[in-house]
């Protein structure tokens, strides 16, 4: 096994055993599952209980198939009124002319009752009315809510994973530098093998996290029935997220390693990483904004520019239809940026990681031959 693979394997095997890793994975999985089931409980389909006193049921189910109706027949108006006041009923149909409510009626239910009543009466007198045909001239917006929901969850997941894994890379680099393990390591392997192994190993863990989250999300959505609202092309969206995560992670983790190699103590990591943290935060904010305005100018432009594209593009892809050429261009630019950052980051790391003691200045490292 080559040195890079050995380093990566150590990163994976030592972290995967830690309580922190297992707990955080379980918590995320639970959160994602909860998010998939939440709409079922919070946003459950409207349900009305309608009482009847000497009245025929109106064909409400046929008029509004998405809404659930329960019917209760009452022998007299008095018991119906009581049930209404107890909150057991939303409305009571009395005879075929009156509706009793407790306060104002739910607007939706009121409109439904009025229109079905009218339809039934007209039907009885032989009048048939063709229902209006609906036609959209704009984009297909059937899945808009689901798309936005998916995009919001994605932004959060990507942000957490990117910042989490990048921080871990930084901590790992400083652990090795501060304890001088790096001196022994670099007499047996090359700096790029050590850096590469660390980035690959921690990236693989991030990917495990991401795939677990996506899998749980999809399975839980199917289980909760949320998946029926998913737009077509979900596999593509999921695959896209994985690819964009890999690109974004490679970019941010390499920068994190390069910055961390400038300092020797864990306490200094936060400080030296702050420009990078800021960059990830900005990316996150833009991506979050893009969930609401996926076709806006800001989202469109930022989804092309690395490294913002790593989060904004997958969000746009989830939230709206994105022309293929835009995705291709964004991908090419981001891939180029990753290559550039890798070569620059490796250089900084190689030059700084053995210079222990005081914080090394980035300028010095870049200027040194």
């Amino acid at each position: 096994m080559n040195a890079l693979a050995l380093v990566a394997r150590r990163e994976i095997s030592t972290r995967i055993r830690t309580k922190a890793f297992i707990v955080s994975l379980l918590v995320t999985i639970l959160l994602v599952a909860a998010a998939a089931f939440a709409p079922k409980f919070l946003d459950r389909p409207d349900k009305y209980t309608v009482g009847t006193v000497n009245a025929q049921r109106l064909p409400l189910e046929a008029a509004a198939p998405d809404i659930e109706f329960a019917w209760k027949a009452f022998p007299d108006e008095g018991t119906a009124r009581k049930a209404l006041l107890d909150g057991d009923l939303d409305a009571v149909l009395v005879g075929d002319a009156r509706v009793l409510t407790d306060g104002e009626i739910e607007q939706e239910l009121g409109v439904l009752l009025q229109s079905t009543n009218r339809e039934v009466k007209l039907g009885a007198s032989g009048v048939r009315i063709e229902p209006l045909r609906m036609e959209s001239v704009g984009a297909d917006t059937r899945y808009q809510a689901a798309r936005t929901g998916i995009a919001v969850v994605l932004v959060l997941v990507l942000f957490m994973l990117l910042i989490g894994q990048a921080t871990m890379v930084a901590m790992g680099v400083v652990e090795e530098k501060g304890s001088r393990i790096v001196e022994i390591l670099l007499t047996s392997i090359r700096p790029w093998q050590l850096l590469g192994g660390k980035i690959v190993g921690l990236g693989a863990l991030g990917l495990v996290n991401l795939v677990a989250i996506l899998a749980v999300g999809v399975v839980a959505s199917v289980g909760s029935g949320l998946a029926t609202d998913f737009p077509p092309g979900m596999p593509g969206i999921v695959a896209g997220v994985v690819v964009w995560f890999v690109l974004g992670y490679a970019f941010f983790a390499t920068l994190a390693a390069a910055l961390a190699s400038l300092v020797s103590r864990q306490e200094e990591v936060g400080n030296v990483m702050s420009p990078l943290t800021m960059l990830i935060m900005i990316t996150y904010f833009v991506a979050f904004y893009a969930t609401a305005e996926p076709t806006g100018t800001l989202a469109t432009v930022m989804s092309m520019i690395p490294p913002f594209s790593s989060m904004v593009m997958p969000v746009r892809m989830a939230a709206a239809q994105v022309p293929v050429w835009e995705v291709g261009l964004a991908f090419a630019l981001m891939a180029a940026a990753v290559v550039a950052v890798l070569s620059l980051g490796a250089k900084v790391y190689e030059r700084a990681v053995l210079r222990t003691g005081a914080r090394v200045r980035l300028g010095d490292v870049l200027r040194a031959k």
Binding site: M1, A3, L6, V7, R10, T14, T18, E175, E176, S179, R180, I181, V182, E183, I184, L185, L186, T187, S188, I189, R190, L354
Partner: protein
């Protein structure tokens, strides 16, 4: 043979000291296969800097390090064993796992690394701690692990910076024996230490470094010979004035007189006069200790 020659290194200065600090000023020495080389010198004399340059952790401004007659390469260094001054281990990793990991990084196969790790763990008396995280070990045991990390790949050369510092005598013995075994197997061993008695006991040759220069080097016996011993004569109740005209320093203590004189002079004449003057209790050349040689050399 490991040859270090004419190493120079100046560390960049800060705002306070614009010309920096000259750490190495042309230091050089040679270590032969199977030789244990003790590297001694005051703090800041340049021992660590030299070792770091040999291991490629630091670049020299000038000078060279060669191994088997060729300039030392990265590939050569991979077959060296190194113990840096500041101990470096993964605190959360388990003992056996850690030793094995470094073995594999040095290019051992999985099974060979496991084998070498088990052997070293036994050899260094870490058997009961093999599954423990390094951070839970005592300093002495951590040092044993550190040495195991330096030894696991059967290195061709050993470079150890202060391997014995902070160890109890038993741990010193375990480590020393392990090093001597390697040394007998033909491995050149360089180690630095402030424990001069230990260096004197273990090393075939010694290098004394001061201000980045090698001020004395050679076998311990050779250094002593060069320094020259002192002839010490103790005479009980001698006739007064017996030592008049003799070189050296005469002191008296409860009825005895002690004459300390450079051993290069004529000892026989002194012995004759002493015997004539009184009862000679002691007559012998005393070799300087390494500590004395060291103090003399860096003075």
């Amino acid at each position: 043979m490991l040859e270090i020659s004419e190493l120079r290194k100046r560390f960049a200065g800060g705002p306070g000291a614009p010309e920096g600090k000259l750490a190495l000023d042309g230091i050089g020495f040679t270590v032969r296969p199977g030789e244990m080389f003790g590297f001694v010198g005051a703090n800041g004399a340049g021992k660590t800097t030299t070792m770091r340059i040999v291991m490629g952790v630091l670049q020299a401004d000038s000078g060279s390090v060669s191994w088997q007659g060729r300039p030392l390469t990265y590939e050569d260094r991979r077959r060296f064993g190194y113990m840096p001054e500041e101990r470096g281990l993964y605190q959360k990793m388990r003992v056996a796992e850690q030793i094995e990991y470094f073995g594999r990084l040095h290019g051992l196969s999985g099974s060979r690394a496991a084998q070498a790790t088990s052997a070293l763990i036994e050899r260094l008396g870490l058997g009961e701690r093999r599954g423990d995280a390094v951070e839970s070990l005592s300093l002495g045991n951590q040092q044993r692990v550190q040495l195991a990390v330096a030894l696991v790949h059967d290195p061709e050369v050993l470079i150890l910076d202060e391997p014995f510092s902070g160890l109890d005598p038993l741990a010193v013995d375990t480590l020393a024996t392990a090093l001597q075994e390697r040394c007998r197997g033909g491995v050149p061993v360089i180690f630095s230490s402030h424990q001069l008695d230990l260096v004197e006991r273990l090393c075939d040759s010694v290098g004394i470094v001061s201000s980045g220069r090698m001020v004395a080097s050679g076998t311990v016996a050779g250094l002593r010979a060069a320094e020259g011993g002192m002839l010490r004569v103790v005479v009980r109740e001698p006739a007064p004035g017996w030592a008049d005209g003799l070189p050296g320093e005469l002191t008296a203590e409860d009825g005895r007189q002690v004459l300390l004189v450079d051993a290069t002079g004529d000892g026989q004449e002194i012995l004759r006069r002493a015997m004539k003057a009184g009862h000679v209790e002691h007559f012998g050349v005393e070799q300087p200790t390494l500590t004395e040689i060291f103090k003399e050399a860096v003075a």
